[in-house]
């Protein structure tokens, strides 16, 4: 147990810091994912064949290929791409991109693909009659979008977004392969030094369970709050 104490002798503070790192990466990835999902939702709901094709290609590929491969693609691909650009400007050294940014980007892309499907379903779940009714009341354009469509989409999408968040939280464990010191990486380091992998893996599991359970509680609270008067 003294191995998990705080300070110089124990690994408690390191594990806690790693836990905060996991949370930070997940929040960044999720925000990026939802922002990226919006244009794809618009593309999927558009009438253009090409736009639909592009959006469907994106979601099918990202949701069908292992997360690990996507992380390898961007982790190795991004530094190769940056070095290629640097070489044009005459810099020939090795450049490595910040692991946090690559990690949040990768998990963000995955979250975006799943969020696209969730948001698309939510938009389609709004009864058509409502839109027709608003139009006949003279509510159109921006007011229709911000007053009728978006609030309802968000309410309907909330449980689905909660699931994507859980997924993103767990997927951040994979970016430990890029060297970012989040829970899994720290667990690996600590168990290597102390030769007590069992203890640190249990700690990691408890940290993940705490994160998933607490965020789940928050999502359920939000769901109850925003579905008042509907169920």
């Amino acid at each position: 147990m003294e191995l998990l104490s705080f300070g110089d002798t124990g690994w408690g503070d390191e594990m806690l810091r790693a836990c905060i790192m996991t949370f930070a990466v997940s929040v960044c990835a999720m925000s990026f994912g939802i922002i990226l999902a919006i244009p794809f939702v618009i593309m999927k709901l558009s009438n253009s064949f090409i736009l639909k094709l592009i959006a469907n290609f994106f979601t099918t590929v990202v949701r069908g290929v292992p997360e690990l491969l996507i992380i390898y693609l961007f982790f190795f691909g991004s530094s190769a791409a940056i070095m290629f650009i640097a070489r044009i400007f005459g810099y020939n050294g090795y450049i490595e991109i910040n692991a946090f940014i690559v990690g949040a980007f990768c998990v963000g892309i995955i979250a975006a693909a799943y969020s696209t499907e969730v948001l698309r379903g939510a938009v389609l779940a709004i009864p058509k009659g409502q839109i027709e009714a608003s139009k006949s009341f003279g509510i159109k354009g921006k007011r229709l979008l911000f007053g009728i469509m978006i609030p309802q989409t968000l309410r309907i999408a909330l449980p689905g977004i909660g699931n994507v968040w859980q997924l993103a939280l767990k997927d951040t464990s994979l970016i430990s392969v890029t060297g970012l010191v989040e829970i899994m990486r720290q667990t690996h380091i600590s168990s290597g030094v102390t030769r007590q992998p069992f203890l640190f893996l249990i700690t990691a599991a408890i940290l993940y369970l705490t994160l998933t359970t607490f965020s789940n509680k928050i999502f359920i609270f939000a769901e109850n709050k925003y579905s008042k008067g509907y169920v």
Partner: protein, 225 residues
């Protein structure tokens, strides 16, 4: 874009397909069998059983698969009594560690799928089965299980696709299945895009196959409705 490299890595990655499929199929079968046991425990009146099952499902679904794989591969190896026991014959092999971790993972998710399938059956059916004089076992066999399985088909096909994707994680514990080979090619050629395309095609094709098969299965078993 280097097309010959895509083709070359495609062939190399294809060599890992058999191992990937072996891991996926083995853990799906074992996981399905284990999930039935977990559901029965979850629904049993014995508080100890149902608590254990609930805790198991909660902790497996709440932690990343990577933690579970590391736990089996590194965590258990810490104890000398495990290293000395007969279990070590299995646990020293990365292959079996991967299969065990994936089995445990899918059993928890499958148990939830089957449970929600069982919950979807109306109580009246069970009551009428009892009224017809069916025993508990007969009710299970004739009424509950066929309907629960049919109800679970779409969700289970999703679980299979998730397992195909999850199987890539065992490459982290040195198993050279498809993603392991892909990773090796990337680190020698520094061509992540080409390798990603080659590996991605195989994974997408596998998922497509599962989708098509399960669409047929669903069609076949929903005839009576």
């Amino acid at each position: 874009m280097n097309f010959s490299l895509i083709f070359e890595s495609f062939l190399k990655i294809l060599n890992g397909l058999a191992l990937s499929l072996e891991i996926i199929v083995l853990s799906l079968i074992l996981g399905f069998l284990a999930s039935i046991l977990i559901v029965l425990m979850r629904l049993s009146k014995n508080i100890l059983f149902s608590r254990f099952s609930r805790g198991f499902i909660f902790s497996i679904r709440g932690t990343p698969l990577l933690v579970q794989i590391y736990f089996i591969y590194y965590g258990l190896a810490q104890f000398s009594f495990i290293r000395d026991s007969f279990l070590w014959i299995i646990l020293k092999e990365p292959f079996w560690c991967g299969v065990i971790a994936l089995t445990i993972n899918t059993s928890a998710y499958t148990a939830e799928i089957i449970r929600s399938g069982l919950n979807a059956i109306s109580k009246g059916q069970i009551e009428s089965a009892t009224a017809f004089g069916m025993t508990k076992f007969q009710t299970f066999k004739r009424i509950l299980i066929p309907q629960a399985l049919r109800q679970s088909i779409p969700a289970y096909s999703n679980e299979i696709i998730l397992m195909i994707k999850s199987s890539s994680l065992v490459s982290i514990i040195t198993i050279m299945e498809m993603t392991g080979i892909a990773r090796k090619i990337i680190s020698t050629t520094f061509a992540p895009i080409e390798v990603f395309i080659a590996a991605g095609i195989i994974y997408l094709f596998l998922n497509y196959l599962i989708t098509i098969i399960f669409r047929q299965v669903e069609k076949r078993y929903s005839v009576s409705y």
